[in-house]
Each structure stands twice: as structure tokens, then as C-alpha cells.
């Protein structure tokens, strides 16, 4: 799909402020509301905008602990990735899964109500995942910046 300068301008403003109303977005991007709406439709059906998702603040739901678990998998097993990922999807406290090219193979974002619950999840659900060669944990202290803006 072709993305022109007007699309980019609309996307730049949308990514900078994702909750914005279409009329306001149109104003900021310097197009009419009808054009803006039509362009957003086209970008969505064309697959450039994949989804608009609500962000859940897990801390507000009592999940005070967030840990980034970085895994190296035993790649001698041909189905290591598939089986690991399928098992990780079954753990409710896993809120995000990423795969990488690098020293780390997979990262899981895990939340827990407190350290005691985290320890339970870690022992019962994480260490039992298949084909783990190594695990490193990074505990989240604070999120300084979290944007999906692109330097378009």
C-alpha cells in the first residue's frame, strides 16, 4: 500500500496522541475531518494501522511487580521455540512475548501482585517451561518513556 505525505502527517499526530478524536486529529494534521476519517479507514484496511488497543495499567489492578525475563533456549531441539512459546502463552501472568535475534532468544513480560506471588509464578510456571538453557531477570523500577511514535 502506498503511504503519502498526508498519511504520514496523520499517522505522526495519531502516534503522538493515540486517544485523540478524529476531528482534533484532522485539525492538527491540517486536513478536513472527512479526509482524515477516509485516510484512517484506508490505512486500517490496507494494514498499515494494525490495531488500536486499550492500554491496561496493571499497577492499578494491584499488580505491583513487573519483571522482564530474558531466555536463552536450547536450540539443539528443533521445536524449542514453538514449544516454549506455546507453553508461555498458557501462563496468564505473561502479558507480552517477544522473540529476538541476538544473545537473548525470547523475552517474557511477567506481572505479579507482589514478590511472594512472583516467586510462586517463577517456580511453578516459568522454570517449568520447556527447553530453557538460561534465564536472566530484569525487574522494572520505573518506565521513563513509553511511546509508539515513529520519527516519520
Amino acid at each position: 500500500m502506498q503511504v503519502d505525505e498526508t498519511d504520514r502527517r496523520i499517522l505522526r499526530h495519531l502516534l503522538a496522541d493515540p486517544g485523540v478524536a478524529t476531528a482534533v486529529l484532522a485539525d492538527r494534521a491540517g486536513v478536513t475531518a472527512a479526509t482524515c476519517w477516509r485516510r484512517l479507514e484506508r490505512l486500517t484496511t490496507g494494514g498499515v494501522i494494525r490495531a488500536q488497543e486499550a492500554v491496561i495499567d496493571w499497577r492499578k489492578l494491584g499488580y505491583g511487580v513487573e519483571v522482564s525475563l530474558r531466555f536463552t533456549l536450547d536450540k539443539t531441539h528443533p521445536r524449542a521455540f514453538d514449544e516454549f512459546l506455546a507453553a508461555a502463552r498458557d501462563v496468564p501472568e505473561v502479558i507480552g512475548i517477544e522473540t529476538f535475534l541476538g544473545r537473548v532468544d525470547v523475552r517474557l513480560n511477567v506481572i505479579a501482585r507482589d514478590m511472594a506471588q512472583y516467586q510462586d509464578i517463577y517456580r511453578a510456571r516459568i522454570l517449568t517451561l520447556p527447553h530453557i538453557a538460561d534465564i536472566e531477570a530484569l525487574m522494572l523500577i520505573a518506565t521513563i518513556k513509553d511511546e509508539s511514535a515513529l520519527p516519520l
Partner: protein, 156 residues
């Protein structure tokens, strides 16, 4: 802290997949009137549980083919202020996410670039010149997926 019932959780699950659902649409699927559904959503927003929207785009289609996660260790802890580092790194347009973490790194960064050559430019000119920067580890993102999280399995 707000107590959630199954209906609230179903709302959260549905909206975290598609935030463009209208209150009327969600209400119909859950057997609630439009005003009742609207009140539910409003309550979740007011409690801060629904904390805005995220637009997921096809970055490659927009010319950003590479996303890299960097683990960063500060070289001179104590001497460089964390605030200075955070301000400088947060101002880099290619850096989408900055997280202060505890473990083998001090910060996690999510960096977008047009291609590997562009990433190298960002790394050399912008990241490696940050105040107090030490060891950096890069992992190139291949796939990512958001999971619904611990919201039960009641679907709308």
C-alpha cells in the same frame, strides 16, 4: 483498589484487543444496555485501569524495518545523575521506550530504525554519546505479541 467482576474483565479483554469498539457494541455482546456499558467503561477509565490507547502500526510499511532492544549499563554510577541520562535518552526520537530496571542492566531501551545501517548511526551518534553510558547489549526484535494477561477467560 477497585474490585472487578467478570463483566469488567470481559470489557478489559475486548478493549485491549480493539479499543475502537463502541459502548453499544460491547454492551450488546455482554447483554448490557448502551448506557450501562458506557458507565462501566467510564468507571474503568476513572480508576486509571484503562490508561489510554496504543496504535499498532506496520512499522516496516512506514519505512522502519528494524526494532532493537538495548540493555544499557551506566559506566559511572553515582557520578552521573540518572536524571541527566534519562532526559538525554528520552529526547532521542528513535527511542520509543526507556525503562529503569534492576538486574544486569540499568536501563532497557526500545529503538526503531529504518534499517541496520540507520540503527548503527543512531547507536554511534546518539546512544554511545549519552552521558554516563557504559556497556550496551543489542537484540534485534523478530516478533512481538501482547497477551490478555490475568483477566480470566470470560470472552465477549
Amino acid at each position: 483498589m477497585m474490585d472487578l467482576d467478570d463483566t469488567d474483565r470481559a470489557f478489559l479483554r475486548a478493549l485491549s484487543q480493539d479499543a475502537t469498539h463502541s459502548a453499544g457494541e460491547l454492551g450488546r455482546r455482554l447483554g448490557l444496555s448502551q448506557p450501562a456499558a458506557w458507565r462501566r467503561i467510564r468507571r474503568l477509565e476513572e480508576a486509571g485501569i484503562l490508561a489510554g490507547r496504543r496504535v499498532v502500526v506496520d512499522r516496516a510499511a512506514l519505512g522502519f524495518g528494524v526494532t532493537v532492544f538495548l540493555g544499557v549499563k551506566l559506566a559511572t554510577k553515582g557520578r552521573v545523575s540518572l536524571e541527566d541520562f534519562e532526559r538525554a535518552v528520552g529526547a532521542i526520537p528513535e527511542v520509543q521506550v526507556v525503562q529503569h530496571v534492576l538486574g544486569m542492566f540499568d536501563y532497557r531501551l526500545r529503538v526503531v530504525a529504518r534499517d541496520i545501517a540507520d540503527f548503527e548511526r543512531v547507536l554511534r551518534r546518539r546512544i554511545m554519546t549519552l552521558p554516563g553510558i557504559g556497556q550496551v547489549e543489542a537484540n534485534v526484535l523478530l516478533t512481538e505479541e501482547q497477551r490478555p494477561g490475568p483477566l480470566g477467560s470470560v470472552d465477549v
